[in-house]
Amino acid sequence: MTILGGGIFKGMAVTLRNFVGSYINKKERLPTNDYSWRPDGDLPQGIGDYPKEEGEQLSDTTTVTEYSRNFPMLLHDGGEPMDTVRCVACQICERECPPQCIYIEKDYDENGKYIKRPAVFDIDVSVCMSCQICVEVCPFDAIVMNSQFELSTPDRFGGLLVRRDDLLKSNDYYHQIHPEEAAARDQKMAVEKAAKEAKKKAAAEKARAAAEKKAVEAAKEEAK
């Protein structure tokens, strides 16, 4: 025989346990307010308070994880950004981007000769859906995902259309936010570069050998 209303009392016992538990066992009962994984065990001063003072930026990337992705950024290898930018404006990402939020124009010098870098590289972050397809299709490892999430702006039009110069970030910054991924990417690039250089070297070697042979033959010819 069951007690009259027993199921209801059981349920009430559960809710009471949760009520008390939310004060005692924060990790289990209030997981979104559990910051024990942070070094100091709590949020930095003022992070919980939103909206913040004007101009205050929350550039704390320790709250994001290794693979976290928000919006794309363009990588350069340090120094003057446009000199070392990896992007060659091949427009593969523009073509593959599912919501078509990327726009690229190639850069030409005054003679009309194509220099391998983008003149225009716009990403509309109001349309971008952070899917990372552009990163995967890029053959030059030029575009990767940023984890900067404070992009709110009072300007709907200019503010949400991120231009080339704002997209450019150094490889060091990339290492800072996604250390493992960046290291793997660098290694992969190094391997590719080595392979390429080896190939180039082999080609040069071959060319040199051929030239030598030719020279020897020519000398022979002459000797005759």
Binding site: G7, I8, K10, V14, T15, R17, E96, E136
Partner: protein, 383 residues
């Protein structure tokens, strides 16, 4: 064969009083239609005498979009079909596309796929139970407990794929990246703690007299109708048909795991059965997760599939046991990098076929919980 009839405004003569039926358009913005779904309900007092589901408020022609982009590019869009189970959607699409290009998926990737799919099932089922009890009128307490646990699983998804809901994690021939270090241990911890939560949940819900009397005998779905109407997933099993694609098709590596499929003997098939089958399925998912986490090997994560490819002209239909039912992708390749035809078989939409049959004669409150027990996500219904 009953289908929605054209609206007719018959007058009911009762004791010399002429009364009209009350036509209520529930939705598209109604708290418990789970999105922008609409039910045109005709009420006699509180009793539903006619119900007509209206779709299309979230229609974005996902299929047409996918036919205009490469195979890989529509992978992120599959996340947005059933936004609760993006991993399962990814898998179904990857399965269909892998049939076209004939690529071997590495062992570790297969294991991770199973782990992700079962975690997704947990996420879906706890949330569904929460939403269902919310439709019954609880003030969100079970739902928030469900979301508390979902939070822990979404944290795992975020660590693995970089996003909490729109994971976009599966690739043709494997996965996008390997899970980070220590992820498997954290997943094991979550999985180990989950049964305790389920116990608590069952204690809160399964014996509650109000829930029992509200859900039992409401929305009966006979087995024959369920099969004929193509109802799949937990709803089919609640109607007494033990048909689970994980057992039937054994896609992926499901043949390696030992698990059971809960089902009823088909006498009732009401909302309570649908709710309980989901509770029981979660326990089986935990069994699978434990076996998968114990058996996962080291190794490669990605097969030799290229990112962008041109499959030979062929047709393929890949289907998986999604948390909501059979999720299928029908692809026709014509040799170009874009699919010629791309079709999603949405379980949510097809399970709605029987909505009207189940609701007629019930109260308006029953219609709400029947809709809740079907478990729809409008992103998938309307596509």
């Amino acid at each position: 064969m009953s289908t929605a009839a054209a609206p007719n405004y018959e007058l009911i003569q009762q004791d010399g009083l002429e009364t009209n039926l009350l036509e209520v358009s529930m939705g598209p913005h109604h708290p418990s239609t789970h999105g922008v779904f609409r039910m045109d309900v005709k009420l006699d007092g509180e009793t539903v005498v006619d119900l007509r589901p209206v779709f299309g408020y979230l229609h974005r022609n996902h299929e047409k979009l996918a036919e205009n982009m490469s195979y890989l590019s529509s992978m992120p869009f599959t996340d947005r079909l059933d936004y609760f189970n993006s991993m399962a959607n990814n898998w179904a699409y990857a399965l269909a596309a892998e049939k076209l290009i004939d690529v071997e998926v590495p062992e570790r990737a297969e294991y991770l796929r199973v782990i992700m799919a079962e975690l997704t099932r947990l996420v879906n089922h706890i949330s569904l139970v929460g939403f269902f009890i919310n439709d019954l009128g609880a003030l969100g307490t079970p739902l928030l407990y469900a979301f508390r646990e979902r939070e822990k699983i979404l944290d795992l998804f975020e660590q693995a794929s970089g996003a909490r809901m729109m994971c976009n994690y599966f690739r043709f021939g494997g996965l996008r990246n390997d899970v980070p270090e220590g992820w498997l241990d954290r997943a094991g911890e979550v999985v180990d703690r989950f049964p305790a939560f389920l116990d608590e949940y069952e204690q809160l819900l399964c014996e509650n007299e109000i829930i029992l009397s509200r859900t039992q005998g409401v929305g009966n779905l006979p087995r024959e109708l369920a099969i004929s109407a193509g109802v799949t997933g937990p709803m089919l099993r609640a109607s007494g048909m033990a048909y689970d694609l994980r057992k039937v098709d054994q896609y992926g590596i499901y043949d390696r795991f030992k698990f059971r499929v809960p089902y009823t003997d088909g006498d009732t098939g009401d909302c309570y059965d649908r709710f309980m089958i989901r509770m029981l399925e979660m326990r089986e998912s935990i069994e699978i997760l434990k076996q998968a986490l114990a058996g996962i090997p080291e190794g490669e994560i990605m097969g030799n599939a290229p990112r962008v490819f041109k499959p030979k002209p062929a047709e393929s239909y890949g289907r998986i046991e999604g948390p909501k039912g059979e999720l299928g992708f029908y692809l026709i390749a014509d040799g170009s990098p874009k699919p010629y035809r791309y079709r999603v078989r949405p379980p949510s939409l097809i399970n709605l076929t029987v909505l009207r049959d189940m609701c007629l004669g019930g109260k308006i409150a029953d219609a709400v919980i029947i809709l809740g027990s079907i478990d729809i996500v409008l992103g998938e219904v309307d596509r």
